[in-house]
């Protein structure tokens, strides 16, 4: 590929991730509202929220250090960087070489690390509580995620995201080991709910001190800092949804750089991600939040599923 084309593709992917993230959040909120017999805010409300937050004067706690100011930028940057490593509407992303799926997981962990620090920096009890809970959930989600990734990587014969997606796309979504893939999908979905702070692990819609995790860490943020944090949370959700969609259902993703293929890929991608957002909205309406100490069981189940996926992969392949 020509260098200019690659640069254009990177910019398009960046704009797409930044622009689509609030929309996905809007879709989930809308679905939840409709299922609760409310009309709910419009699909584009999160954009208005972000714009408003960006314009407001931020208020900072006088006890904080530079970590508090730097954290929103680090969290935003690491999430965006993770998003750029991943194929979105084209199976071969230009930045593919910069990092594989392990790098993506660890980039997101960089964001988590600074989020935890930010929660501690304000010095209130709530922030510390959120940080402490985030630490345990991230801890338990990571091994399950790593094993399910490995199960997927084995089928594609690579840990490189572009190769995985490209291989699956060329097979037109026909996977070589369906049971292994399905179990890995289930594990990955549970991990997604945990990592992005959705019900049943965390509830992004409440500020009840006893239940919140992610929101507790953000309590002292306002103005542009809060906007960046909220936006980053939306992008993180989108990154996970994109992973699921493109790894497990890459139908229609562009495998070559032609205008027609790219257009189809982009349109289908938005449809698929929005569809997955609807599923998450429905799940959030169906289940209650789990007690914190029940979450390890859920993530343990994800770990076992991923392990089984691995066993199935080897035994079925012989």
């Amino acid at each position: 590929m020509h260098v200019m084309v690659q640069l254009v593709l990177i910019v398009v992917q960046l704009v797409m991730l930044l622009a689509l993230a609030p929309f996905i959040v809007g879709v989930i909120r809308k679905v939840k509202a409709r299922l609760q017999c409310r009309r709910g805010a419009g699909l584009f409300q999160p954009y208005a929220d972000l714009a408003k937050l960006f314009r407001k004067q931020p208020v900072r706690s006088s006890t904080t250090s530079w970590i508090f100011t730097a954290a929103p930028y680090v969290v935003f940057a690491s999430t965006v960087a993770a998003g750029l490593l991943m194929p979105v509407f084209l199976s071969h992303t230009p930045l593919n070489f910069a990092g594989n799926i392990i790098a993506l997981v660890y980039l997101l962990a960089l964001g988590t690390f600074f989020l935890i620090l930010a929660g501690l920096d304000a010095g209130s009890a709530f922030g510390g509580m959120g940080s402490s809970r985030e630490a345990i959930i991230a801890t338990l989600a990571e091994p399950a995620m790593m094993l399910s990734i490995l199960a997927i990587a084995l089928t594609a014969g690579s840990t490189n995201l572009s190769t995985i997606v490209h291989q699956s796309a060329l097979l037109e979504g026909v996977v070589l080991a369906p049971p292994a893939h399905l179990m890995a999908l289930a594990a990955m979905f549970i991990v997604t709910l945990a990592e992005t702070g959705r019900v049943p692990v965390d509830n992004p819609a409440t500020h009840l001190e006893l239940t919140m995790i992610h929101e507790a860490m953000l309590l002292e943020y306002s103005g542009r800092y809060l906007a960046l944090m909220e936006w980053a949370a939306g992008i993180k959700l989108l990154v996970f949804l994109t992973l699921i969609v493109n790894v497990f259902a890459p139908w229609g993703i562009a495998t070559s750089v032609t205008p027609a293929a790219l257009a189809t890929g982009a349109v289908l991608y938005v449809v698929k991600v929005a569809g997955l957002a609807v599923v998450i909205g429905v799940i959030e309406s169906m289940f209650a939040k789990l007690r914190l100490f029940r979450v390890p069981e859920l993530l343990g189940a994800a770990f076992i599923l991923a392990l089984l996926a691995l066993v199935f992969f080897y035994t079925l392949r012989g």
Partner: protein, 674 residues
């Protein structure tokens, strides 16, 4: 090269002897630490020289003692460790110049500085020794000097016990190392390392396996593998901080060196697969348990000591995977595993030493090691805080730092298990990878705790409130290591070819051209299509995305400055008492993993006489069980004491009786001989 070696020896000897000739402590300080720093620079040059030399440098002085030759050999493996030791030694000795000020008047600066030189010299020579006997002598000198340094502050409670514990453990280890070398020498006919690796004198299988295990136990005790790790969290924190940095950062690496030397150099050839599997399992166990115990530790230096157990585990995961691949003739993968282990070795040396120096700086400023008494240090000690943060991010293996690169390489070697022929190993290596992922996540939580509780929010004690930034020399020492962490992370294109020179002779294949793609900008163990990372590009992406965030925020908000106000404390004035404590932070983790920690809670309450609903005084104690000490070491100690108690019957203090014993023994021996 010989000149450099001479300079190195001269600097260490002068640094060791001159401070003892003067009584002015300022002069002692400059002489001792200046000598060590100069020797460190020479050592770095010598290490690079050894890596690039066509032929290994050898030096040999025969002696009158049988089997003993004072033989030195600087091959690439030794040179790599000389480089690592010298780099950390350089930083630690510059740091020590400011740090020992705290000891002035209490402990002789000259003696401590002189011992530091001796300790560094013995470590440098251990990895260069080319004769088993000579190696053991240097190994003992290294252990004894470090013991003396551990008990520097012997008047403080617990320090002597820690020293004694260390002394016993290190000697149990040495006994096993002697056994290993005796087995080798029986076949080789001498104690020379050259004869050990002689290919036409192979040991029988049984003896080879015994040599494998004695080496693993002997060197493992020094490296701190589970369950031989119990002395680390006592001994490392007890020493002065620059010594802790050297012990945790490089001394335990001499054991890694020796294991690689024994397995890949002396025992090379056909390994049974379970050797590699044993090393891999011990690695996984050490990594996981090390980080789990670290999480519960609230003494900053003990916490760091436990993390050494974790990181030795990660190094062994790489080496173990390399050994398994070696068994099945997958030499390129074997080289990759070994390379990953070595990369993590130098990374751990830099970031762990950095963190220990940082902990020492915090202790210097606050006079306590308890994390619960810190808080808010970042605003008072900005440089120390920044360096500690770099170390924390590196040890938590977050991109784009050095810890990330080496852990990523270990992950890749484990993922390549696909190419192994047996189903069992195909499954076990990915499980080891999952354990590594859990370890990484726990390390992240642990350093979020360590950094967050120490440096963020409000000070929790008067000590923390009164702390000020440490002297310049201490900051320079930490700065050198922080810079090395960044360089080792961002420039794998420089590090991988160096390591390749080490692994090449050991595994017989050169892989750096395969591992590095696109002019070295990309690390790709197999092909770029299979897996790749590029830390410079990741760093550029992070900076770029961060700037984008900044631009967006500027553009929307037109740069309105933030307003400052107090954190909302639900209507009450915010006090440090409201902050989360380190104990509170790890409470959920303790509860989730209670099978490992076996936590106990002791609650004491005192009520008012009028009613038991009013509590006058309440005291809660949290306690976790050190499983290995309770269930493995205590029973052994108890048994030994019981036996000793019985044997006391024959020791009654009567000289006549003892003479009778000697007489009877002599008679019996004569009868047996006849």
């Amino acid at each position: 090269m010989t000149t450099l070696l001479t300079v190195l020896l001269a600097c260490y000897l002068l640094g060791g002897l001159l401070p003892l000739c003067t009584s002015r402590w300022h002069l002692q300080n400059i002489l001792a630490h200046g000598g060590a720093a100069a020797a460190g620079l020479a050592g770095i040059a010598l290490g690079f020289g050894g890596l690039f030399a066509a032929q290994p440098l050898t030096l040999s002085v025969p002696s009158n003692i049988p089997f003993l030759t004072f033989a030195l050999r600087l091959d690439p493996l030794a040179a790599f460790f000389v480089l690592t030791i010298s780099l950390v030694g350089l930083a630690a000795s510059i740091y020590a110049h400011g740090y020992v000020g705290e000891y002035a008047g209490r402990v002789s600066i000259g003696v401590v500085g002189s011992l530091l030189n001796g300790f560094l010299l013995s470590m440098t020579l251990v990895v260069m020794a080319d004769n088993g006997f000579f190696f053991l002598i240097l190994w003992e000198v290294m252990s004894l000097l470090s013991y003396v340094l551990v008990v520097t502050e012997h008047e403080r409670p617990g320090v002597r016990e820690a020293g004694l514990f260390y002394l016993i453990m290190t000697h149990v280890g040495t006994a096993f190392i002697i056994l290993t070398f005796v087995i080798f020498s029986q076949e080789a006919g001498s104690f020379s390392f050259d004869d050990f690796r002689h290919p036409d004198q192979r040991l029988p299988d049984g003896l080879r396996s015994i040599a494998f295990f004695t080496a693993l136990i002997g060197f493992g005790a020094k490296a701190g593998i589970v369950p031989l790790h119990v002395w680390l969290p006592y001994a490392h924190p007890a020493a002065p901080s620059h010594i802790s940095a050297l012990m945790s950062g490089v001394m335990i690496k001499t054991a890694v060196y020796a294991l690689i030397r024994v397995y890949f150099d002396f025992l090379e050839g056909q390994f049974p697969w379970w050797w590699g599997f044993t090393v891999l399992s011990i690695g996984a166990l050490s990594a996981l348990l090390g980080v789990m115990y670290a999480l519960m530790e609230h003494d900053l230096k003990s916490l760091l000591a436990f993390h050494s157990v974790e990181n030795i585990g990660i190094i062994l995961l790489g080496i173990g995977a390399g050994m398994i691949f070696h068994t099945y003739g997958l030499h390129e993968l074997a080289a990759l595993g070994l390379l990953a282990g070595l990369y993590h070795t130098i990374n751990h040396a830099t970031f762990k030493a950095l963190l220990f120096l940082g902990a020492g700086a915090v202790q210097f400023a606050t006079h306590t090691r308890d994390i619960e008494e810190y808080g808010g240090l970042l605003r008072r000690m900005p440089w120390t805080g920044l360096f500690f943060l770099i170390g924390a991010v590196s040890i938590a293996a977050l991109p784009p730092t050095n810890g990330f690169v080496s852990e990523w390489l270990v992950f890749q070697s484990l993922f390549l298990s696909v190419q192994l022929p047996t189903l069992f190993l195909k499954l076990m290596l990915p499980i080891a990878a999952a354990i590594l992922a859990l370890t990484g996540a726990l390390a992240l939580a642990c350093f979020a705790k360590a950094f967050g509780m120490s440096f963020l929010a409000q000070p929790r004690s008067a000590h923390a409130r009164q702390s000020v930034e440490v002297p310049l020399s201490m900051r320079i020492g930490m700065g050198i290591l922080a810079g090395s962490c960044v360089l080792l992370g961002l420039a794998p294109m420089l590090v991988v070819p160096l390591l390749d020179r080490v692994t090449g002779p050991l595994t017989g294949v050169v892989i750096s051209e395969k591992v590095l793609a696109l002019d070295g900008w990309v690390v790709a163990p197999v092909t770029v299509e299979f897996s790749s990372i590029s830390t410079p590009v990741l760093a550029a992406l992070l900076v770029g995305a961060g700037l984008l965030g900044l631009l967006i925020a500027r553009w929307f908000g037109k740069g309105v400055p933030a307003r400052y106000t107090r954190t909302w404390g639900c209507g009450l004035p915010l006090t440090p008492r409201m902050e989360y404590t380190a104990t509170g932070f790890v409470q959920p983790i303790k509860q989730v993993f209670e099978t490992v920690y076996q936590p106990t809670v002791k609650l004491e309450r005192e009520f008012l006489e009028q009613s038991k609903y009013f509590i006058r005084h309440q005291r809660v104690e949290f306690h976790t069980e050190p499983v290995f000490e309770t269930y493995l070491y205590r029973p052994v100690v108890r048994k030994l004491l019981a036996i000793a108690e019985r044997l006391r019957v024959i020791q009654v203090g009567s000289l006549h009786l003892y003479l009778t014993y000697i007489f009877v023994t002599l008679v019996l021996l004569l009868l047996w001989a006849g």
